[in-house]
Amino acid sequence: MATYSTNEFKAGLKIMIDADPCAIIENEFVKPGKGQAFSRVKIRNLKTGRVIERTYKSGESVEGADVIDIEMQYLYTDGEFWHFMVPDTYEQYQADKNAVIEAMKWLKDQDICTMTLWNDVPLSIIPPNFVELSITETDPGLKGDTSGGGGKPATLETGAVVRVPLFVQIGEVIKVDTRSGDYVGRVKS
């Protein structure tokens, strides 16, 4: 794998830190007027999701991480693994619970998501920004109540729970923003 000098550091670059693949979020050039220059980076550990800061001597080289993002279609889960497929090549990948933990509550068969692979092993899954899921459980609210305030919890077919307006009923399909977990609207069938 290639190495990168601190001069090449920029947001999105994937490097190895303490034997874990990490993505640079932010890089700051720090230099005392008289003295050594440093690169202070904010990085996300792609295995744990933790964000930490790390300093390098300016000009130092760091090993790159073989990490790529690929669009994949979610197929099914057997309880232990979650199975995905690259639509163009039909190549299949199975991800373990650690990799899908953030995404699993939004995953519906056939949906296209982004898989992050490290040395060809699934590291994490990013669900689509918007998903359309049907409601399996919610309190029957007052019919015709269109006032915004309050809302109520609703359980979706994937198990996720989101707040929806009172007028939304069981069986309806709604659109949800997976980045915030917010209800966006009803989907007309």
């Binding site: 050039f29 007027g33 220059a37 790390r54």
Partner: protein, 327 residues
Amino acid sequence: MSKHSWQPSCTIKELQKRAQMLALIRDFFAKNNVLEVETPLLCQATGTDPQLDFFTSTYQQSPFEKKLFLQTSPEFAMKRLLAAGSGSIYQICKAFRNGEQGRFHNPEFTLLEWYRIEFNLNQLMDEVASLICTLLEPKLVIKKVIKITYATLFFQKTGLNPLEYKPHLYKKYALSHAIPEAISLCEHNHDLWLDFIFSHHIQPTLIGEQIYLVHSYLASQASLARINADDPAIADRFEVFVNGIELGNGFFELADEAEQTLRFEQEIAFRKTNNRPLVSKDCRFLAALKAGLPDCCGVAIGLDRLLMLSTANVAIDDVLAFPLDRA
């Protein structure tokens, strides 16, 4: 940013603020009888500071070729004017530092540098504070000027005594303050430890409506300052900080030719052992010191950063017409 973005990266308002700032500075020095001078940007010699990378260019007058440096600071040339009897002088000019780019750095930037004959460091610090206050208003109204020694500040903020290198204490500090990488990065280089901790944990705390004048740096970080006459462990040097940003650096100027030669030689030797680009001593500057530099204090202020503060911007690119990527 598109590939061929032609527009300036700052707004027209920042251009106007810059022009106002320059007018205020010229007015300030005119009132104080400090002479404005110009010295070359292209020079035959340059500084030896191993932490400063320079740009070089080639002067061609066939069949002759000459290597010329873009100055990293106008310091040597201005001291030659002082030695020639100019009296107190100032200059507003561009300076160039290779490889320095970031939120607070552009490789080409604007410096205000001035020298005051027969000023002591304290008088110069007062003048720096007074000028900076004027230039920051009305956006930032300074309520307090804090003068503090490097050692006191360092100890207050970290509990470490910077004058004494005790490896286990520095290690312990690194481990308990989430900078474990400092241990392998700094190894047993005391100055590197100090730079690391100061720039990461001390400088960012120098904020509020205050000017921090940090003085009495360690002798090992004297740069071009005199070693203190009463305490050989410290140098007569200060730095000025506002809002966590380093704005400038001042010295009671070293005038001793022999000591200056020695410092040049040490830095050249460091460059050699660390495979940094080689430079030779500036002989014209040394000759000027030999002829006699009057006792004086001098300071350099980064005007782009000052403009950032006086316009409440967060990056140097916000106050430059064309930073490197658009130059």
